[in-house]
């Protein structure tokens, strides 16, 4: 069984790495979108994905609301990945890394399917 996954992440790098991780998993096929509007337009097509993975980096509150909207209005399960930075006070030199592991993430998602 191959399950479609839609990755919503505004950061290009994060989106690309997460999508690559999902596509490497034998049971998951992923595509990425940058924002909620693009996500809605994909979900409104006939072959909408079964799972929507929302990567929340800074706007976590909005992301929770968006996940709730997906669960309520579309035939898809939304999963929110908490990738919030510790603090925006930390300079960009180093700590701009969200908590995403593209190797273990697909395993976690497939267990939740």
């Amino acid at each position: 069984m191959v399950t479609d996954v839609l990755v919503v992440a505004s950061n290009d790098m994060v989106r690309s790495v997460v999508v690559t991780g999902f596509n490497h998993h034998p049971e998951l096929a992923a595509q990425g979108v940058a924002d909620a509007r693009e996500c809605r337009s994909v979900l409104e097509t006939n072959d909408s994905p079964a799972i929507v993975v929302v990567v929340a980096i800074l706007t976590r509150t909005d992301s929770i609301a968006f996940c709730e909207e997906i669960n309520a209005q579309y035939a898809a399960t939304a999963i929110l990945i908490n990738a919030t930075r510790v603090s925006s006070d930390i300079p960009r030199d180093i700590d701009t890394r969200p908590a995403i592991d593209p190797i273990t993430l697909p395993e976690q998602v497939s267990r939740n399917v």
Binding site: G21, N71, V86, P91, R97, A99
Partner: protein, 387 residues
Amino acid sequence: MINIPFVQIYELIAYISLAGLCLVGVLTLGASGYLWVRDTFVRQTVASLRPEIVAHAGSSEQDWEAWVNERSRLERRILRREVPRQLRVVSGSYATQLKTLGRALGIDERADRALSARIKQKRLIGLTQLTLLDQAVPLQHVRGTECPRERALAAQCVISDSADIQPESIVRLLLEPGTPLPEYGVYTLYRVMQQNPLSLLGVTDDTTWDLTLTVQVLSVLQYIDYSSSDAIRDWIGARLRDEQPAVRAAAVHALGPYIRAYAMTPPEVDPLTIVRDPSIRVRAAAFQQFPAIEETTVRRKIVDTAVEESNETVLLIAGQEFGTAISGTHKSITPALRRSMAWARATNRRRTTRWRTPWALEWEHQPLKTESTPELLSEPRPTGEHA
């Protein structure tokens, strides 16, 4: 002598200008075209390499070295830029693999060499890359520098490296120059002192610190359990007598862990002197920290002082922290205090005016659990080591 007509001079200037304009246009278009081709090539190469990196996850160091050797020189160059970029956005086992790949690409060796560069920017890039790769940096490289960012990054490198942490060396590295730390340096200091609060003592005697640095160190102590150390307690006590209100206020906040541990202030500290301090900041800090005091007589005197308070900002905090105690013991209170207590009841929130620091945010911003986002959302953040 050649006689050039006046009109021809103007024509000549016009032709030269036109030719110059055309040349600039051609160069601009050429440069844009070159950059477009280069960026497209880099994007395509990166896109083709990313799945390969994920596919090789789980490889040993030797396998990565073999994989790197199979890549072309240009691909290796692109990877040397790509790996640090990716390390900023990933964590866990994939990040570990990327670090191994980074070492196979020789990023750490290049970063080591950059530490000896004369240009500060290069040294900072080298330190940043070593931090991203969790590689050690010899402290002598940065001991001489006066740049706080460089010292903070070096301290972070030493921590990241790991097993053999020498807290005193790191604290000395951060605090010895006596100049203010960048935010990241404060966080690093917190991480070191959390492991060993006594590491602070080696540098407190022989250094004249900048006011901001003193406040930064005190703000770190606010989140450290130092309650068993008399020396740190004495050091904080001495800061309570500082002439600067900002230092005194920070020292009162720093008393927090001791007060919470023993439900009283240290014996040599008189809480009533603090709540009667001329500075609003100090009194506000006192009313934030003293609710944990349990000794009845002292507590009653603090409440009496709160009732006599005239500043509305301080009253708001006093109302929030001591509202119940005040309404239980005092029938007649000022309208301003009544308003503060009403506000405190209405908002039903404690400590609205706390300092915001990275670790405080870390505690306050724990993931919430909701029905719609069941499993993954409730998991702890897996970053761990750097955040």
